[in-house]
Assembly symmetry: C2
Homo-oligomer: 298 residues x 2
Protein backbone atom coordinates (compact mmCIF):
# COMPACT_ATOMS: atom_id res chain seq x y z
CA UNK A 1 0.00 0.00 0.00
CA UNK A 2 1.36 3.41 -0.96
CA UNK A 3 1.97 5.50 2.16
CA UNK A 4 -0.48 8.22 1.26
CA UNK A 5 -3.26 5.64 0.89
CA UNK A 6 -2.48 4.38 4.37
CA UNK A 7 -2.80 7.94 5.69
CA UNK A 8 -6.10 8.41 3.87
CA UNK A 9 -7.53 5.19 5.29
CA UNK A 10 -6.39 6.06 8.82
CA UNK A 11 -7.74 9.62 8.63
CA UNK A 12 -11.11 8.43 7.33
CA UNK A 13 -11.32 6.10 10.28
CA UNK A 14 -10.58 8.97 12.64
CA UNK A 15 -13.39 10.93 11.01
CA UNK A 16 -15.80 7.99 11.29
CA UNK A 17 -15.12 7.26 14.94
CA UNK A 18 -15.31 10.91 15.96
CA UNK A 19 -18.62 11.40 14.16
CA UNK A 20 -20.08 8.31 15.83
CA UNK A 21 -18.84 9.44 19.25
CA UNK A 22 -20.16 12.97 18.85
CA UNK A 23 -23.59 11.79 17.75
CA UNK A 24 -23.74 9.58 20.80
CA UNK A 25 -22.63 12.41 23.10
CA UNK A 26 -25.09 14.84 21.56
CA UNK A 27 -27.94 12.34 21.71
CA UNK A 28 -30.12 14.14 19.17
CA UNK A 29 -28.45 15.58 16.07
CA UNK A 30 -27.10 13.47 13.22
CA UNK A 31 -24.27 14.39 10.88
CA UNK A 32 -25.28 15.27 7.36
CA UNK A 33 -22.68 14.29 4.83
CA UNK A 34 -21.80 16.06 1.65
CA UNK A 35 -19.37 14.41 -0.75
CA UNK A 36 -17.54 16.81 -3.01
CA UNK A 37 -14.94 16.72 -5.73
CA UNK A 38 -12.29 19.29 -6.36
CA UNK A 39 -11.84 20.48 -9.91
CA UNK A 40 -8.05 20.19 -9.73
CA UNK A 41 -8.15 16.69 -8.23
CA UNK A 42 -9.46 14.81 -5.20
CA UNK A 43 -12.34 15.71 -2.93
CA UNK A 44 -13.76 15.25 0.51
CA UNK A 45 -16.48 14.27 2.94
CA UNK A 46 -17.92 17.27 4.74
CA UNK A 47 -20.03 16.27 7.73
CA UNK A 48 -22.08 18.87 9.53
CA UNK A 49 -24.06 18.54 12.76
CA UNK A 50 -26.62 21.22 13.62
CA UNK A 51 -29.28 22.06 16.21
CA UNK A 52 -28.28 19.26 18.57
CA UNK A 53 -28.83 18.91 22.31
CA UNK A 54 -25.27 20.02 22.89
CA UNK A 55 -23.83 21.11 19.55
CA UNK A 56 -25.41 24.12 17.91
CA UNK A 57 -23.23 23.83 14.82
CA UNK A 58 -20.14 21.83 14.09
CA UNK A 59 -18.28 20.04 11.34
CA UNK A 60 -15.99 17.03 11.06
CA UNK A 61 -14.45 17.25 7.62
CA UNK A 62 -12.20 14.88 5.76
CA UNK A 63 -10.48 15.80 2.52
CA UNK A 64 -7.80 14.36 0.27
CA UNK A 65 -6.85 16.61 -2.60
CA UNK A 66 -4.07 16.65 -5.13
CA UNK A 67 -2.98 18.63 -8.15
CA UNK A 68 -0.73 21.52 -8.98
CA UNK A 69 0.23 23.99 -6.28
CA UNK A 70 -0.71 27.64 -6.99
CA UNK A 71 2.31 29.86 -7.70
CA UNK A 72 1.91 31.86 -4.48
CA UNK A 73 1.86 28.74 -2.31
CA UNK A 74 4.88 27.29 -4.15
CA UNK A 75 6.79 30.43 -3.24
CA UNK A 76 5.64 30.36 0.38
CA UNK A 77 6.67 26.69 0.70
CA UNK A 78 9.95 27.31 -1.20
CA UNK A 79 9.51 24.26 -3.40
CA UNK A 80 10.36 23.71 -7.07
CA UNK A 81 8.06 20.85 -7.83
CA UNK A 82 4.39 21.71 -7.94
CA UNK A 83 2.55 18.40 -7.72
CA UNK A 84 1.05 18.13 -4.30
CA UNK A 85 -1.11 15.80 -2.25
CA UNK A 86 -2.79 16.88 0.97
CA UNK A 87 -5.16 15.07 3.26
CA UNK A 88 -6.60 15.95 6.63
CA UNK A 89 -9.40 15.87 9.16
CA UNK A 90 -10.67 19.21 10.49
CA UNK A 91 -13.12 19.77 13.29
CA UNK A 92 -14.77 22.79 14.86
CA UNK A 93 -17.65 22.50 17.36
CA UNK A 94 -19.80 25.40 18.53
CA UNK A 95 -21.88 24.21 21.49
CA UNK A 96 -25.08 25.96 22.53
CA UNK A 97 -24.30 26.08 26.26
CA UNK A 98 -21.78 28.85 27.05
CA UNK A 99 -20.14 26.63 29.67
CA UNK A 100 -19.26 23.99 27.09
CA UNK A 101 -16.12 25.14 25.24
CA UNK A 102 -15.60 25.54 21.51
CA UNK A 103 -13.09 22.96 20.30
CA UNK A 104 -10.94 22.68 17.20
CA UNK A 105 -8.91 19.76 15.94
CA UNK A 106 -6.94 19.21 12.79
CA UNK A 107 -4.62 16.47 11.60
CA UNK A 108 -3.06 16.72 8.16
CA UNK A 109 -0.49 15.17 5.88
CA UNK A 110 1.17 16.98 3.00
CA UNK A 111 3.32 15.41 0.32
CA UNK A 112 5.15 16.72 -2.72
CA UNK A 113 7.89 14.13 -3.12
CA UNK A 114 9.98 11.81 -0.94
CA UNK A 115 11.96 14.75 0.44
CA UNK A 116 9.05 17.13 0.89
CA UNK A 117 6.39 15.57 3.06
CA UNK A 118 5.26 16.14 6.58
CA UNK A 119 2.50 15.85 9.17
CA UNK A 120 0.82 18.71 10.97
CA UNK A 121 -2.04 19.13 13.38
CA UNK A 122 -3.22 19.85 16.87
CA UNK A 123 -6.18 20.32 19.19
CA UNK A 124 -7.07 23.49 21.00
CA UNK A 125 -9.84 24.64 23.28
CA UNK A 126 -11.74 27.94 23.34
CA UNK A 127 -13.91 28.16 26.46
CA UNK A 128 -16.39 31.02 26.59
CA UNK A 129 -15.75 30.85 30.32
CA UNK A 130 -12.36 29.48 31.36
CA UNK A 131 -12.85 26.72 33.93
CA UNK A 132 -9.44 25.86 35.37
CA UNK A 133 -10.19 22.20 36.09
CA UNK A 134 -11.41 21.71 32.52
CA UNK A 135 -8.35 23.39 31.01
CA UNK A 136 -6.10 21.25 33.20
CA UNK A 137 -7.92 18.05 32.28
CA UNK A 138 -7.69 18.93 28.58
CA UNK A 139 -3.97 19.72 28.67
CA UNK A 140 -3.29 16.66 30.80
CA UNK A 141 -4.81 14.38 28.14
CA UNK A 142 -2.84 16.08 25.37
CA UNK A 143 0.39 15.72 27.33
CA UNK A 144 -0.31 12.02 27.88
CA UNK A 145 -0.80 11.47 24.15
CA UNK A 146 2.35 13.41 23.30
CA UNK A 147 4.50 11.75 25.99
CA UNK A 148 3.83 8.30 24.51
CA UNK A 149 5.79 9.41 21.45
CA UNK A 150 8.32 11.98 22.65
CA UNK A 151 8.68 13.79 25.96
CA UNK A 152 9.67 16.97 24.13
CA UNK A 153 6.46 17.08 22.07
CA UNK A 154 4.02 18.47 24.63
CA UNK A 155 6.07 21.46 25.84
CA UNK A 156 7.10 22.33 22.28
CA UNK A 157 3.67 21.92 20.71
CA UNK A 158 1.92 23.61 23.64
CA UNK A 159 4.05 26.70 23.12
CA UNK A 160 3.39 26.66 19.39
CA UNK A 161 -0.34 26.57 20.08
CA UNK A 162 0.00 29.58 22.41
CA UNK A 163 1.87 31.46 19.68
CA UNK A 164 -0.38 30.39 16.83
CA UNK A 165 -3.85 30.81 18.32
CA UNK A 166 -3.23 34.44 19.18
CA UNK A 167 -5.42 37.39 18.25
CA UNK A 168 -2.70 39.97 17.75
CA UNK A 169 -5.00 43.02 17.48
CA UNK A 170 -6.80 42.10 20.72
CA UNK A 171 -3.61 41.02 22.48
CA UNK A 172 -5.39 37.88 23.67
CA UNK A 173 -5.16 34.16 22.92
CA UNK A 174 -8.11 32.54 21.17
CA UNK A 175 -8.64 30.29 24.17
CA UNK A 176 -6.60 28.16 26.56
CA UNK A 177 -4.54 26.66 23.74
CA UNK A 178 -3.61 23.02 23.43
CA UNK A 179 -1.06 21.63 21.01
CA UNK A 180 -0.08 22.67 17.50
CA UNK A 181 2.61 21.15 15.31
CA UNK A 182 3.59 21.53 11.68
CA UNK A 183 6.09 20.06 9.20
CA UNK A 184 6.75 17.13 11.49
CA UNK A 185 9.32 14.90 9.77
CA UNK A 186 11.57 11.96 10.71
CA UNK A 187 14.79 14.00 10.70
CA UNK A 188 13.67 16.26 13.58
CA UNK A 189 11.93 13.60 15.61
CA UNK A 190 13.67 10.24 15.30
CA UNK A 191 10.26 8.80 14.40
CA UNK A 192 9.72 7.36 10.93
CA UNK A 193 6.71 8.27 8.82
CA UNK A 194 4.70 5.29 10.06
CA UNK A 195 5.27 6.37 13.64
CA UNK A 196 4.39 9.95 12.79
CA UNK A 197 1.16 8.67 11.27
CA UNK A 198 0.51 6.77 14.49
CA UNK A 199 1.10 9.95 16.46
CA UNK A 200 -1.32 11.90 14.26
CA UNK A 201 -3.98 9.24 14.68
CA UNK A 202 -3.33 9.27 18.44
CA UNK A 203 -3.95 13.04 18.44
CA UNK A 204 -7.17 12.39 16.51
CA UNK A 205 -8.16 9.72 19.01
CA UNK A 206 -7.62 12.14 21.89
CA UNK A 207 -10.40 14.35 20.61
CA UNK A 208 -13.34 12.25 21.79
CA UNK A 209 -12.27 11.50 25.39
CA UNK A 210 -11.23 15.14 25.77
CA UNK A 211 -14.38 16.71 24.41
CA UNK A 212 -17.03 14.26 25.61
CA UNK A 213 -15.76 14.69 29.18
CA UNK A 214 -15.99 18.48 28.91
CA UNK A 215 -19.49 18.11 27.44
CA UNK A 216 -20.54 15.82 30.29
CA UNK A 217 -19.23 18.20 32.92
CA UNK A 218 -21.00 21.28 31.58
CA UNK A 219 -23.89 20.41 29.28
CA UNK A 220 -26.53 20.84 31.96
CA UNK A 221 -25.11 24.00 33.50
CA UNK A 222 -27.77 26.69 33.76
CA UNK A 223 -26.99 29.98 32.10
CA UNK A 224 -28.49 33.46 31.93
CA UNK A 225 -29.20 35.69 28.93
CA UNK A 226 -26.12 37.71 29.92
CA UNK A 227 -23.94 34.64 29.87
CA UNK A 228 -25.26 33.75 26.45
CA UNK A 229 -24.51 37.28 25.27
CA UNK A 230 -20.94 36.83 26.47
CA UNK A 231 -20.77 33.58 24.51
CA UNK A 232 -21.78 35.48 21.36
CA UNK A 233 -19.05 38.05 22.02
CA UNK A 234 -16.44 35.33 22.45
CA UNK A 235 -17.65 33.75 19.23
CA UNK A 236 -17.05 37.00 17.38
CA UNK A 237 -13.42 36.86 18.55
CA UNK A 238 -13.29 33.34 17.15
CA UNK A 239 -14.54 34.66 13.81
CA UNK A 240 -11.93 37.44 13.92
CA UNK A 241 -9.14 34.95 14.46
CA UNK A 242 -10.27 32.60 11.72
CA UNK A 243 -10.88 35.29 9.12
CA UNK A 244 -7.84 37.46 9.89
CA UNK A 245 -5.11 35.04 10.95
CA UNK A 246 -5.87 31.36 10.44
CA UNK A 247 -3.43 29.84 7.94
CA UNK A 248 -5.77 26.98 7.00
CA UNK A 249 -8.60 29.39 6.22
CA UNK A 250 -6.29 31.66 4.20
CA UNK A 251 -4.87 28.68 2.28
CA UNK A 252 -8.38 27.46 1.56
CA UNK A 253 -9.65 30.84 0.36
CA UNK A 254 -6.56 31.46 -1.78
CA UNK A 255 -6.51 28.02 -3.39
CA UNK A 256 -10.17 28.21 -4.27
CA UNK A 257 -11.16 25.53 -1.79
CA UNK A 258 -14.73 24.53 -1.02
CA UNK A 259 -15.93 27.66 0.78
CA UNK A 260 -18.67 26.09 2.86
CA UNK A 261 -16.28 23.43 4.18
CA UNK A 262 -13.61 26.00 4.99
CA UNK A 263 -15.98 28.43 6.67
CA UNK A 264 -17.94 25.82 8.62
CA UNK A 265 -15.62 26.93 11.45
CA UNK A 266 -17.52 30.21 11.76
CA UNK A 267 -20.03 30.49 14.59
CA UNK A 268 -23.78 30.10 14.06
CA UNK A 269 -24.39 33.45 15.83
CA UNK A 270 -21.80 36.07 16.75
CA UNK A 271 -22.13 39.56 18.19
CA UNK A 272 -19.95 42.61 18.16
CA UNK A 273 -20.65 45.19 20.88
CA UNK A 274 -18.83 48.45 20.62
CA UNK A 275 -16.10 48.69 23.23
CA UNK A 276 -17.42 45.98 25.53
CA UNK A 277 -15.94 46.19 29.02
CA UNK A 278 -16.07 43.44 31.62
CA UNK A 279 -16.94 44.17 35.24
CA UNK A 280 -13.79 43.89 37.39
CA UNK A 281 -13.83 40.65 39.36
CA UNK A 282 -16.60 39.11 37.22
CA UNK A 283 -16.27 35.63 35.67
CA UNK A 284 -15.94 37.38 32.29
CA UNK A 285 -13.01 39.48 33.53
CA UNK A 286 -11.52 36.35 35.09
CA UNK A 287 -11.75 34.59 31.72
CA UNK A 288 -10.06 37.48 29.90
CA UNK A 289 -7.21 37.42 32.42
CA UNK A 290 -6.52 33.81 31.42
CA UNK A 291 -6.46 34.40 27.68
CA UNK A 292 -2.73 34.86 27.53
CA UNK A 293 0.32 32.92 26.47
CA UNK A 294 2.48 30.84 28.72
CA UNK A 295 0.00 29.56 31.32
CA UNK A 296 1.10 26.09 32.48
CA UNK A 297 -2.05 24.02 32.75
CA UNK A 298 -0.29 20.77 33.60
CA UNK B 1 -3.87 78.22 7.20
CA UNK B 2 -1.82 75.12 6.41
CA UNK B 3 -3.68 72.92 3.95
CA UNK B 4 -3.92 69.93 6.26
CA UNK B 5 -5.59 72.09 8.92
CA UNK B 6 -8.15 73.17 6.36
CA UNK B 7 -8.85 69.50 5.60
CA UNK B 8 -9.18 68.69 9.29
CA UNK B 9 -11.63 71.55 9.86
CA UNK B 10 -13.71 70.57 6.83
CA UNK B 11 -13.78 66.87 7.78
CA UNK B 12 -14.82 67.64 11.35
CA UNK B 13 -17.68 69.68 9.98
CA UNK B 14 -18.73 66.75 7.79
CA UNK B 15 -18.71 64.53 10.86
CA UNK B 16 -20.75 67.03 12.88
CA UNK B 17 -23.42 67.57 10.28
CA UNK B 18 -23.80 63.86 9.55
CA UNK B 19 -24.13 63.04 13.25
CA UNK B 20 -26.79 65.73 13.70
CA UNK B 21 -28.69 64.52 10.64
CA UNK B 22 -28.56 60.87 11.65
CA UNK B 23 -29.80 61.59 15.17
CA UNK B 24 -32.69 63.50 13.68
CA UNK B 25 -33.49 60.70 11.24
CA UNK B 26 -33.27 58.05 13.94
CA UNK B 27 -35.38 60.07 16.37
CA UNK B 28 -34.25 58.17 19.45
CA UNK B 29 -30.58 57.26 19.80
CA UNK B 30 -27.83 59.77 20.52
CA UNK B 31 -24.20 59.49 19.52
CA UNK B 32 -21.79 58.74 22.30
CA UNK B 33 -18.43 60.31 21.74
CA UNK B 34 -15.07 58.95 22.73
CA UNK B 35 -12.01 61.14 22.29
CA UNK B 36 -8.77 59.23 21.94
CA UNK B 37 -5.12 59.94 21.43
CA UNK B 38 -2.73 57.87 19.41
CA UNK B 39 0.59 57.04 21.03
CA UNK B 40 2.55 57.89 17.89
CA UNK B 41 0.74 61.21 17.38
CA UNK B 42 -2.74 62.60 16.80
CA UNK B 43 -6.08 61.11 17.76
CA UNK B 44 -9.75 61.07 16.95
CA UNK B 45 -13.40 61.43 17.82
CA UNK B 46 -15.21 58.11 17.71
CA UNK B 47 -18.97 58.54 17.75
CA UNK B 48 -21.20 55.50 18.17
CA UNK B 49 -24.97 55.28 17.94
CA UNK B 50 -26.71 52.19 19.30
CA UNK B 51 -30.17 50.75 19.87
CA UNK B 52 -31.97 53.46 17.94
CA UNK B 53 -35.35 53.43 16.23
CA UNK B 54 -33.63 52.83 12.92
CA UNK B 55 -29.96 52.24 13.61
CA UNK B 56 -29.05 49.16 15.61
CA UNK B 57 -25.36 50.04 15.65
CA UNK B 58 -23.33 52.54 13.74
CA UNK B 59 -20.35 54.80 13.94
CA UNK B 60 -19.28 58.13 12.49
CA UNK B 61 -15.57 58.42 13.22
CA UNK B 62 -13.17 61.24 12.66
CA UNK B 63 -9.43 60.86 13.08
CA UNK B 64 -6.30 62.87 12.32
CA UNK B 65 -3.10 61.03 13.05
CA UNK B 66 0.55 61.61 12.27
CA UNK B 67 3.91 60.09 12.97
CA UNK B 68 6.30 57.64 11.42
CA UNK B 69 5.02 55.12 8.90
CA UNK B 70 5.61 51.46 9.81
CA UNK B 71 8.25 49.78 7.62
CA UNK B 72 5.72 47.46 5.93
CA UNK B 73 3.45 50.35 4.95
CA UNK B 74 6.43 52.38 3.66
CA UNK B 75 7.25 49.51 1.35
CA UNK B 76 3.65 49.10 0.20
CA UNK B 77 3.42 52.83 -0.54
CA UNK B 78 6.89 52.86 -2.15
CA UNK B 79 7.98 56.00 -0.29
CA UNK B 80 11.36 56.98 1.15
CA UNK B 81 10.23 59.53 3.67
CA UNK B 82 8.39 58.12 6.66
CA UNK B 83 6.65 61.10 8.26
CA UNK B 84 2.99 60.85 7.52
CA UNK B 85 -0.25 62.65 8.25
CA UNK B 86 -3.64 61.07 7.66
CA UNK B 87 -7.13 62.31 8.40
CA UNK B 88 -10.54 60.97 7.54
CA UNK B 89 -14.18 60.42 8.34
CA UNK B 90 -15.46 56.82 8.32
CA UNK B 91 -19.04 55.69 8.65
CA UNK B 92 -20.79 52.34 8.84
CA UNK B 93 -24.48 51.99 9.75
CA UNK B 94 -26.19 48.71 10.59
CA UNK B 95 -29.95 49.34 10.67
CA UNK B 96 -32.33 47.03 12.52
CA UNK B 97 -34.89 46.73 9.71
CA UNK B 98 -33.68 44.32 7.00
CA UNK B 99 -35.23 46.55 4.33
CA UNK B 100 -33.06 49.50 5.30
CA UNK B 101 -29.60 48.99 3.74
CA UNK B 102 -26.22 48.97 5.45
CA UNK B 103 -24.23 51.98 4.32
CA UNK B 104 -20.54 52.84 4.38
CA UNK B 105 -18.82 56.13 3.69
CA UNK B 106 -15.23 57.20 3.97
CA UNK B 107 -13.36 60.34 3.01
CA UNK B 108 -9.67 60.60 3.72
CA UNK B 109 -6.59 62.69 3.07
CA UNK B 110 -3.04 61.39 3.27
CA UNK B 111 0.09 63.48 3.21
CA UNK B 112 3.80 62.72 3.38
CA UNK B 113 5.28 65.72 1.56
CA UNK B 114 4.31 68.11 -1.25
CA UNK B 115 4.77 65.40 -3.85
CA UNK B 116 3.16 62.60 -1.90
CA UNK B 117 -0.36 63.56 -0.91
CA UNK B 118 -3.77 62.55 -2.06
CA UNK B 119 -7.47 62.22 -1.32
CA UNK B 120 -9.43 59.00 -1.21
CA UNK B 121 -12.95 57.96 -0.32
CA UNK B 122 -16.33 56.80 -1.45
CA UNK B 123 -19.81 55.71 -0.44
CA UNK B 124 -21.31 52.30 -1.03
CA UNK B 125 -24.56 50.59 -0.19
CA UNK B 126 -25.15 47.05 1.07
CA UNK B 127 -28.86 46.26 1.01
CA UNK B 128 -29.94 43.04 2.72
CA UNK B 129 -32.64 43.02 0.05
CA UNK B 130 -31.77 44.79 -3.17
CA UNK B 131 -34.55 47.22 -4.06
CA UNK B 132 -33.93 48.46 -7.60
CA UNK B 133 -35.50 51.89 -7.13
CA UNK B 134 -33.36 52.47 -4.02
CA UNK B 135 -30.16 51.40 -5.76
CA UNK B 136 -30.98 53.67 -8.69
CA UNK B 137 -31.75 56.61 -6.43
CA UNK B 138 -28.50 56.09 -4.56
CA UNK B 139 -26.34 55.87 -7.67
CA UNK B 140 -28.16 58.81 -9.23
CA UNK B 141 -27.21 61.03 -6.28
CA UNK B 142 -23.59 59.89 -6.40
CA UNK B 143 -23.41 60.56 -10.12
CA UNK B 144 -24.81 64.06 -9.61
CA UNK B 145 -22.15 64.83 -6.99
CA UNK B 146 -19.37 63.46 -9.21
CA UNK B 147 -20.59 65.20 -12.37
CA UNK B 148 -20.30 68.61 -10.72
CA UNK B 149 -16.54 68.06 -10.63
CA UNK B 150 -15.68 65.83 -13.56
CA UNK B 151 -17.89 63.83 -15.91
CA UNK B 152 -15.37 61.00 -15.89
CA UNK B 153 -15.49 60.57 -12.11
CA UNK B 154 -18.74 58.63 -11.72
CA UNK B 155 -18.11 55.88 -14.30
CA UNK B 156 -14.49 55.48 -13.15
CA UNK B 157 -15.23 55.49 -9.43
CA UNK B 158 -18.33 53.33 -9.84
CA UNK B 159 -16.24 50.65 -11.52
CA UNK B 160 -13.61 50.90 -8.81
CA UNK B 161 -16.28 50.36 -6.16
CA UNK B 162 -17.51 47.26 -8.02
CA UNK B 163 -13.96 45.92 -8.10
CA UNK B 164 -13.08 46.88 -4.55
CA UNK B 165 -16.20 45.81 -2.63
CA UNK B 166 -15.98 42.28 -3.92
CA UNK B 167 -16.00 39.11 -1.82
CA UNK B 168 -13.67 37.03 -3.93
CA UNK B 169 -14.28 33.70 -2.15
CA UNK B 170 -18.06 34.06 -2.50
CA UNK B 171 -17.85 35.48 -6.02
CA UNK B 172 -20.31 38.20 -5.03
CA UNK B 173 -20.14 41.95 -4.50
CA UNK B 174 -20.64 43.23 -0.96
CA UNK B 175 -23.71 45.14 -2.09
CA UNK B 176 -24.84 47.34 -4.97
CA UNK B 177 -21.61 49.36 -4.88
CA UNK B 178 -21.39 53.11 -5.18
CA UNK B 179 -18.20 55.07 -5.74
CA UNK B 180 -14.64 54.44 -4.60
CA UNK B 181 -11.57 56.53 -5.36
CA UNK B 182 -8.02 56.60 -4.08
CA UNK B 183 -4.81 58.61 -4.55
CA UNK B 184 -6.75 61.41 -6.19
CA UNK B 185 -4.24 64.13 -7.11
CA UNK B 186 -4.20 67.27 -9.28
CA UNK B 187 -2.06 65.74 -12.04
CA UNK B 188 -4.69 63.12 -12.97
CA UNK B 189 -7.71 65.32 -12.52
CA UNK B 190 -6.99 68.90 -13.51
CA UNK B 191 -8.39 69.91 -10.12
CA UNK B 192 -6.13 71.52 -7.56
CA UNK B 193 -5.97 70.35 -3.95
CA UNK B 194 -8.57 72.88 -2.82
CA UNK B 195 -10.98 71.62 -5.44
CA UNK B 196 -10.23 68.02 -4.50
CA UNK B 197 -11.02 68.92 -0.91
CA UNK B 198 -14.30 70.45 -2.10
CA UNK B 199 -15.08 67.25 -3.97
CA UNK B 200 -14.35 65.12 -0.87
CA UNK B 201 -16.60 67.32 1.24
CA UNK B 202 -19.28 67.09 -1.47
CA UNK B 203 -19.06 63.29 -1.25
CA UNK B 204 -19.41 63.59 2.51
CA UNK B 205 -22.41 65.87 2.08
CA UNK B 206 -24.08 63.34 -0.22
CA UNK B 207 -24.26 60.85 2.63
CA UNK B 208 -27.21 62.39 4.48
CA UNK B 209 -29.62 63.00 1.58
CA UNK B 210 -28.80 59.53 0.24
CA UNK B 211 -29.24 57.61 3.45
CA UNK B 212 -32.08 59.52 5.10
CA UNK B 213 -34.18 59.02 1.96
CA UNK B 214 -33.52 55.26 2.03
CA UNK B 215 -34.35 55.22 5.73
CA UNK B 216 -37.62 57.08 5.12
CA UNK B 217 -38.64 54.72 2.34
CA UNK B 218 -38.08 51.53 4.32
CA UNK B 219 -37.98 52.13 8.06
CA UNK B 220 -41.57 51.08 8.63
CA UNK B 221 -41.55 48.07 6.33
CA UNK B 222 -42.84 44.99 8.13
CA UNK B 223 -40.54 42.02 8.22
CA UNK B 224 -40.72 38.38 9.25
CA UNK B 225 -38.35 36.32 11.39
CA UNK B 226 -37.10 34.69 8.16
CA UNK B 227 -36.32 38.07 6.66
CA UNK B 228 -34.42 39.03 9.79
CA UNK B 229 -32.48 35.76 9.59
CA UNK B 230 -31.53 36.65 6.03
CA UNK B 231 -30.33 40.04 7.28
CA UNK B 232 -28.05 38.27 9.78
CA UNK B 233 -26.65 36.10 6.99
CA UNK B 234 -25.94 39.13 4.83
CA UNK B 235 -24.26 40.78 7.80
CA UNK B 236 -21.92 37.80 8.13
CA UNK B 237 -20.84 38.40 4.52
CA UNK B 238 -20.19 42.00 5.50
CA UNK B 239 -17.97 40.78 8.36
CA UNK B 240 -16.16 38.43 5.98
CA UNK B 241 -15.41 41.27 3.58
CA UNK B 242 -14.19 43.62 6.27
CA UNK B 243 -12.00 41.08 8.05
CA UNK B 244 -10.56 39.34 4.97
CA UNK B 245 -10.27 42.08 2.33
CA UNK B 246 -10.85 45.62 3.53
CA UNK B 247 -7.67 47.68 3.13
CA UNK B 248 -8.66 50.22 5.81
CA UNK B 249 -9.27 47.47 8.36
CA UNK B 250 -5.99 45.75 7.49
CA UNK B 251 -4.09 49.06 7.67
CA UNK B 252 -5.67 49.78 11.04
CA UNK B 253 -4.90 46.35 12.50
CA UNK B 254 -1.31 46.38 11.19
CA UNK B 255 -0.51 49.90 12.36
CA UNK B 256 -1.82 49.21 15.81
CA UNK B 257 -4.78 51.53 15.40
CA UNK B 258 -7.60 51.91 17.91
CA UNK B 259 -9.26 48.48 17.58
CA UNK B 260 -12.73 49.46 18.73
CA UNK B 261 -12.87 52.33 16.24
CA UNK B 262 -11.61 50.15 13.39
CA UNK B 263 -13.94 47.26 14.14
CA UNK B 264 -17.02 49.38 14.81
CA UNK B 265 -17.85 48.42 11.21
CA UNK B 266 -18.67 44.87 12.31
CA UNK B 267 -22.34 43.99 12.68
CA UNK B 268 -24.09 43.84 16.07
CA UNK B 269 -25.36 40.32 15.27
CA UNK B 270 -24.25 38.06 12.44
CA UNK B 271 -25.06 34.47 11.59
CA UNK B 272 -23.33 31.80 9.59
CA UNK B 273 -25.53 28.93 8.38
CA UNK B 274 -23.79 26.00 6.80
CA UNK B 275 -24.33 25.97 3.05
CA UNK B 276 -27.36 28.24 3.00
CA UNK B 277 -29.33 27.97 -0.23
CA UNK B 278 -31.93 30.46 -1.40
CA UNK B 279 -35.25 29.32 -2.85
CA UNK B 280 -35.25 29.90 -6.63
CA UNK B 281 -37.37 32.92 -7.48
CA UNK B 282 -37.45 34.20 -3.88
CA UNK B 283 -36.54 37.79 -2.99
CA UNK B 284 -33.34 36.40 -1.43
CA UNK B 285 -32.36 34.67 -4.69
CA UNK B 286 -33.27 37.85 -6.56
CA UNK B 287 -30.94 39.81 -4.29
CA UNK B 288 -28.06 37.37 -4.84
CA UNK B 289 -28.50 37.66 -8.59
CA UNK B 290 -27.87 41.40 -8.29
CA UNK B 291 -24.71 41.14 -6.20
CA UNK B 292 -22.41 41.26 -9.18
CA UNK B 293 -20.13 43.70 -10.89
CA UNK B 294 -21.04 45.90 -13.80
CA UNK B 295 -24.74 46.56 -13.19
CA UNK B 296 -25.59 50.04 -14.49
CA UNK B 297 -27.94 51.57 -11.94
CA UNK B 298 -28.11 54.98 -13.59
Amino acid sequence: MVFRDKVVAAFKEVQDSICAGLEQADGKARFEEELWNREGGGGGRTRILQHGNVIEKGGVNFSAVHGKLPEAVKKAFKVENDDFFATGVSIVMHPSNPFVPIIHMNIRYFEMDDQTRWFGGGIDLTPHYVIDTDARYFHHLLKKTCDTYDASFYPKFKQRADDYFYIEHRAETRGVGGIFYDRLKPDQTGLDFDQLLDFSVAVGDTFLPAYTELIDRNRDAEFSAEEQEWQYLRRSRYAEFNLVYDAGTKFGLETNGRIESILMSLPPTAKWHYNHQTVPGSPEAETLSKLKKGIEWV
